[in-house]
């Protein structure tokens, strides 16, 4: 698979995160020559927070993470498998998760619910326990001799159909102490082709207790991972976890404004990288809705636009088809007044007060749509509600990836 035309030039330089050790190994879940098991160990423990898929048919890994999050908010390790999602595999899948988390717990001398797990890949095939065990042993062996795995290695090892590894880092200083936040992710959206579950993991050495971390992560997700869509499909395995080791020292931060801002930046940048790797994506589309009844209504209207196949194909065709935007606003089910609506492409007003603007000049709009980054703005002129979401265009590439190949 060619690297997405929307990919960044290169993987960023990411800072180390004190208290986190990472190793990657070859479990050989598929017949490929690459690392596909990632292990992160927090020797001194880490506060943990997380969000999992809203799917009613989650994978056993997701069910395990939900239980483990509820159990106490402390993590000693994270293990991620790529190539096999272990989803919809009945009791065999559950047994594999018990084995996996139990084996890590035994090695570290901790409880299994302090070990977090995520798997992504083919649905319907139980995670092979022998391969998982061999991979784990390889990863632990590397940690014992001092793993040389970088964040880029880890970002690559959790990927499946991704065309580039996804990572983001931020450093910040609070009360004279330096803290790092690093995130890695994989996936092509909030979405689920067989091998494109969204997984995202954030690590920090800042001292944040689990409840505060959960509160800040939930707010960050609302404007990042929950504000992106590739095709509106939701995986059985989507998982976002944040780990705070506190190893950089200092007093417990609580819900700290600067930390929350940096965490939100990391999440948003990771989310945008996921959209930039959307299947078949040729353009990154930002949809900004203002003037809705409230923020919730604005988000629903923005998502209706971002998920509309007709809007997405129009943008793929570089067509400033504002009629389709009107359609998507109308079908969202939220309050809208056709005769107050205005629409901009690339900052240029196209339609206002219920009809095309007088003397509409398509030239600057057409030029904007030829670029890689497309901005669609809708103002409803009804209230103060606003939301921004991101998606990609819908192209022949999406069809080729999902229809022309047999899973």
């Amino acid at each position: 698979m060619d690297r997405s035309p929307l990919a960044p030039d290169r993987f960023p330089d990411l800072p180390p995160v004190a208290g986190v050790r990472v190793a990657v190994a070859r479990a050989r879940y598929k017949a490929w020559e690459r690392a596909d098991l990632t292990l992160a160990v927090f020797a001194g423990g880490a506060a943990v927070a997380g969000l999992t898929t809203r799917s009613k048919c989650p994978s056993p890994e997701v069910e395990h993470c939900r239980r483990a999050l509820a159990a106490g908010g402390t993590a000693r390790a994270l293990v991620v498998n790529a190539g096999n999602a272990n989803a919809f595999t009945g009791v065999a899948g559950e047994a594999a998760v018990r084995m996996l988390t139990g084996a890590v717990a035994a090695e570290l001398g901790c409880a299994p619910d302090q070990v977090f797990a995520a798997s992504t890949g083919v649905i319907g095939v139980p995670l092979p326990q022998d391969k998982a065990r061999a991979g784990l042993e390889g990863a632990f062996a590397k940690l014992r001799v001092g793993s040389d795995a970088t964040w880029e290695h880890a970002a690559g090892a959790i990927g499946t159909t991704d065309t580039f590894p996804k990572g983001v880092g931020r450093t910040l200083e609070i009360d004279g102490r330096a803290y790092s936040i690093v995130g890695i992710a994989k996936g092509s959206g909030m979405i689920a082709p067989d091998m494109a579950t969204m997984l995202a993991f954030v690590f920090t050495d800042a001292p944040v207790a689990a409840p505060a971390l959960q509160a800040m992560l939930t707010r960050a997700a609302d404007v990042s991972f929950h504000a992106i869509t590739v095709d509106g499909d939701t995986s059985t395995s989507d998982t976002l976890l944040a780990f705070a080791t506190g190893a950089a020292g200092g007093a417990e931060l609580g819900e700290h404004r600067a930390f929350a801002a940096a965490l939100t930046e990391v999440c948003r940048e990771l989310a945008l990288q996921i959209v930039r790797d959307g299947e078949g994506a040729q353009k990154l589309i930002e949809v900004r809705v203002t003037g809705a009844e409230d923020d919730r209504a604005a988000k629903r209207i923005a998502m209706s636009i971002a998920n509309s196949p007709l809007v997405k194909t129009a943008i793929a065709g570089e067509d400033a088809n504002w009629g389709r935007v009107v359609m998507a606003v109308g079908k969202a089910g939220e309050a809208a007044d056709r005769d107050r609506l205005s629409i901009r492409f690339g900052g240029v007003e196209v339609a206002a007060r219920g009809m095309v603007v007088p003397g509409y000049d398509e030239a600057p709009v057409a030029a904007h749509l030829k670029g890689r980054d497309v901005l669609v703005e809708v103002d409803l002129d009804l209230g103060d509600g606003r939301a921004t979401v991101w998606t990609c265009d819908l192209t022949h590439g999406y069809i080729s990836i999902n229809a022309d190949y047999r899973s």
Copy 2:
């Protein structure tokens, strides 16, 4: 545009409907050599019932029809424009509808709210009043000399990007009297590419008062037009109207079981023809959900499957990808228990009780998926809720129609 591979061999033989006269004319809304204005006149009046788009940004025609339906339930005429949707055209569009319905009302000597109107085609350009007026004059001139327009002519004249004209007829006998029901439709779904609004009109000579007609039509729509999807997009102009002239005589039928059954058949067959003309459709997909908590939950799950781009591309690729069906069940938001779920393709059980069936033989499923008609069945094993919906696959054709061309 090539005729859809899912189209019926030919337009059916449709019966006359007493009390309905039809003419088609060339308003020349676009630069094409075809009739694009359709006029149906009910000299003796007709009871009328209808449903319009749920879009919050409806066309002025839709707003007019809603007012006219509320006004009294009597129709003297229907006028349909193809090539210009008149949607999102502000006061100019509203003025065009007033002119159009007023002109017909003046000719027939009735109130404007006894004249129903629908338009389909390009969004954002006000319906040109001069063309509409010339078209109307042509249609009335034909009616005066005895129009020779057939149902097939009318079905053709209301079409836009349709690749075949859509019509269905039924005759039934009640208390020794023969009645006809005829329906015509256009569109590629409940959906709105610039020119694929769904319009459907049903005519009968049976004596049915408006309230009974509305009740039967609403129930029929639930299992027909509201049970289909091509891409989940909803037009600003979708309109379904039913007219009952009563010209075949007999006593008022009320909510009559046999009549309702025939009306439902006509609606379902029209709806299926619309899916068969879905943009780029190569396969007609029937999704049957059973065992849901209730019928409403079943419908939502069925629509989640039918609208999933990943399910639709998998079927386009003739891939029995039941993992994507699980994903679509999970994201629907309705109660589901992964470990009670079973899935069939073409009647063959693929997955049961949360995992693939033992000894799963893909050969008969693969053979089924190679055909034009695909059946996907999901049983949730939770309750008695059931629903059936229809869609088509998502192919390169859809992208080509909607992205590769400039509107």
